[in-house]
Amino acid sequence: MSLRTLEYAAAESVSGIIRNGLMSATSVVTIALSLSILAAFGLLAFGLNNMAQGLLGQFEIGVFLKNGVSEAEIAEVSSQIEKLSHVTSVRLISREEAWEETKRKIGKDVNLTGIKNPLPDQLCVKLDDTHFTARTVDRIRKMPYVDDVVAARQLVERAIKVADLIKWIGIVSASVLFLVTAFIISNTIRLTLYARRREIRIMQLVGATNWFIRLPFVLEGVILGAIGACVSYLLVSGGSKYVSEIVTRNFPFVRGQFATNVDPIYFLGCMIALGCLVGAIGSLISIRRFLKA
């Protein structure tokens, strides 16, 4: 593709946008609105997912060791657990530490003096992905010196289900909105195509390649998509600030977990990329139909 072709396509697409000024403006607004809804869903899903992951991250698997294990044996078990996949950390709470902790907590109310330490040594295991909790628990249970393993399994599994559901709702609604936006853009481009039908006819007649004919219209869709994305970025970043203020005011306990503080440059980049993609797809749909007819 030569520079001249690009120059031609750029000039033609800009003049197409200006010629159908009102329609272009309408489609920018619709693109902006649907991208905003899409982004709002995305941010919500992202925030809720963060929150869910944050909660899940606090879950640990407790591994209680048999009575009378030596320090070397403890080290052996702990290194075996560390070798399992998805294990991020293994922390030892020795029975002496646990006993001191218990005494500090309930020693005021219950007289524990003279009682022999009844607690076992315990390992606290953290995972990078809580989906693997059940499997990891089963593996650890089979290891030597391990007496019992506890995990808030049901709670963890329910939390995982909720987080997954949110993710899927986000993906489905985003796909639907993406298609709707592509359809809106394809309608706008069709108007430009109609206005240029004579030129297109002659271009085909004198032997312009299909890509040469398509390029200005694809570019027009991309430009509309990008402008719509910028508008929607302003809407969404303003809106999300407002929403997170309300959330933190009314539900202080989720502060810092319901994270909407995505890197703005990254967010803008994603929005523009999405806008361009949806614009290009929209215009390709209508050109395809038009060139066939």
Partner: protein
């Protein structure tokens, strides 16, 4: 140069535009395709520049089977074929110069090439002094000359004309046909679909007569009607 082998075009069960047409057009020929309206003349031309595909049979242009072409290959084929229409098909918002330049531009010619080619083309068809006029400021004959200049922009070896004089008065029609003959004398193969009896008779060129999609007559130095009928 152009060959039709057992070509039939069927639009629906009852509408058959061409029936088993066999035709060979040699390089450098000037040929008239004649017959009443709706008899398949336009369809015949459309098969050459691959606007349409035959239902059965093959069409060859310069030894290439054009019925099999796709996308980019169709674009390349069309750069080798100029097409002129009864209604000129000029772009109304572009001047004569721009209309011709457009054909060069969209096929990827450089700015310098366009500056060199356009005046030559407008000069060849005799409207160089009208280069800045818009189509609505030009007479019918002048518009057809601009459209011929555009058709010749990529220097095609074949020029197809579908009723090129259909919208013109007799004198202007004759001028346009004379121009086509001059272009033919430079080596361009010319196929004219026409039902203009006077022009066909006066030119005394090869005539292929179609009737109901069938080639009913093909003769050198032919006339519009067979001598026995006229």
């Amino acid at each position: 140069m152009i060959e039709f082998r057992n070509v039939s075009v069927t639009y629906s069960k009852d509408v058959q535009a061409l029936r088993d047409v066999n035709l060979f057009i040699d390089k450098g020929e000037f040929i008239f395709i004649i017959g009443p309206t709706g008899t398949g003349k336009s369809t015949l031309l459309k098969l050459v520049y691959r606007e349409e595909k035959p239902t059965t049979g093959k069409v060859y242009v310069g030894n290439q089977d054009v019925t099999r072409l796709k996308g980019g290959a169709i674009a390349r084929l069309r750069r080798n074929i100029g097409v002129v229409f009864q209604d000129f098909r000029l772009l109304p918002q572009k001047t004569a110069w721009e209309n011709v330049a457009f054909a060069l531009y969209v096929t990827g010619a450089s700015h310098r090439e366009i500056q060199r080619r356009v005046p030559d083309l407008l000069d060849l068809v005799g409207v160089i002094d009208r280069k800045d006029a818009y189509p609505h400021q030009l007479s019918g004959g002048e518009q057809q000359r601009v459209s011929i200049a555009r058709a010749l922009a990529n220097n095609p070896p074949i020029l197809l004309a579908d009723e090129p004089t259909g919208n013109l008065d007799p004198d202007t029609s004759w001028d346009i046909i004379q121009l086509l003959e001059r272009i033919n004398s430079r080596g361009t193969t010319i196929v004219v679909a026409s039902h203009d009896k006077h022009i066909v008779d006066r030119m005394n060129k090869r005539v292929v007569a179609l009737d109901g999609g069938i080639v009913v007559r093909d003769e050198e130095k032919g006339r519009y009607y067979e001598l026995a009928n006229s």
